[in-house]
């Protein structure tokens, strides 16, 4: 079944690159370890919760930062939440921007905050894209009759 083996190799290579490039960290492996036959969609479910949560938070951040008088406490609270959820799923690059973002909040630096918001949006859309691609590859492997290689 050369086709399956090739697809599996593609998946492994792709996933490895995500770790290498810092998009994902070890916490993502934790999620994968929690997935089994009785919970075959656990990773996808958590990741999609992360997507929904993040999009909500990014909208809130845009709104809050575009006020006349920025409520930095509110901004910080949102970033804290985003930092938490990105850390919980292993979205390392998003988490790292959150850390910088919180520093700007503490300094009440709106320009810095706005820059971070742009950066977070960028990193978020990158990791979203990468994860969706990875899920597609996984599905291809399964459809071809193969199983997902465990790390």
């Amino acid at each position: 079944m050369d086709g399956v083996i090739q697809l599996q190799r593609q998946l492994v290579d792709y996933t490895t690159s995500l770790y290498k490039e810092g998009f994902l960290d070890d916490q993502f492996k934790q999620l994968q370890q929690l997935q089994d036959e009785s919970n075959p969609d656990f990773v996808i479910e958590v990741v999609y919760l992360f997507f929904e949560d993040s999009e909500r938070l990014l909208n809130e951040l845009s709104k809050t930062l575009n006020q006349q008088n920025v409520d930095f406490k509110k901004v910080d609270a949102h970033v804290h939440q985003l930092k938490g959820s990105s850390s919980s799923i292993g979205a390392q690059r998003v988490q790292n921007v959150c850390i910088a973002f919180r520093n700007y909040c503490e300094e009440q630096n709106s320009e810095g905050c706005l820059k971070c918001l742009q950066l977070i949006k960028h990193e978020y859309s990158l990791v979203k894209n990468k994860l969706e691609t990875m899920f597609k590859l996984e599905k291809q492997v399964l459809v071809a009759g193969g199983s997902i290689p465990m790390h």
Partner: protein, 160 residues
């Protein structure tokens, strides 16, 4: 609402023997993660999205007088940073209650703040853990779980 879930796979164990954990966190992602971590560690889980709901589940909500849920919870694990009632405030309320004070409470936080940790431990928290939680963290938790009416069969503290 507090929601309960149970593992779909039974290993021939009497389901009532499983320790019951109340997990409190305002983050949906983290609630899902802790739930899965606990279930995969053979626990029964009830999640609550804030301290108020947690207290209601424990029978300590405003206007409640019954405590029929009390004997069923072996451990409370709560996030520290939550809007409204913090995990610390929830810890205090539990420890102030004559019905609930024996229940071990574990605080989790994404931030490693020594004064925060000290404060929680002084208030009676069993342990303070850093997020994100991993399987190895949850295994540690089993040693903290309070024995219920069923005598501990000695398996709880043995690592798997």
């Amino acid at each position: 609402m507090a929601s309960s879930s149970s593992s779909s796979s039974s290993r021939g164990q009497d389901l009532d023997e499983r320790p019951h954990v109340l997990a409190v966190d305002d983050s949906l992602v983290d609630r899902k993660l802790i739930e899965r971590l606990l279930i995969s560690s053979a626990c029964k889980v009830t999640t609550a999205e804030n301290g108020q709901r947690a207290l209601e589940f424990l029978g300590l909500g405003d206007g409640q007088h019954t405590n029929n849920s009390v004997s069923k919870v072996n451990l409370i694990i709560t996030d520290y940073c939550m809007p409204g009632m913090t995990g610390y405030e929830l810890l205090k309320k539990v420890k102030e209650s004559s019905n609930l004070r024996e229940i071990p409470v574990v605080i989790v936080s994404s931030e490693n703040v020594p004064t925060r940790i000290k404060k929680c431990l002084e208030e009676g928290a069993q342990e303070f853990m850093l997020k994100p939680l991993k399987q190895s963290d949850v295994k540690k938790l089993r040693c903290h779980m309070m024995k219920l009416s069923h005598p501990c069969n000695g398996r709880l503290c043995i690592g798997r």
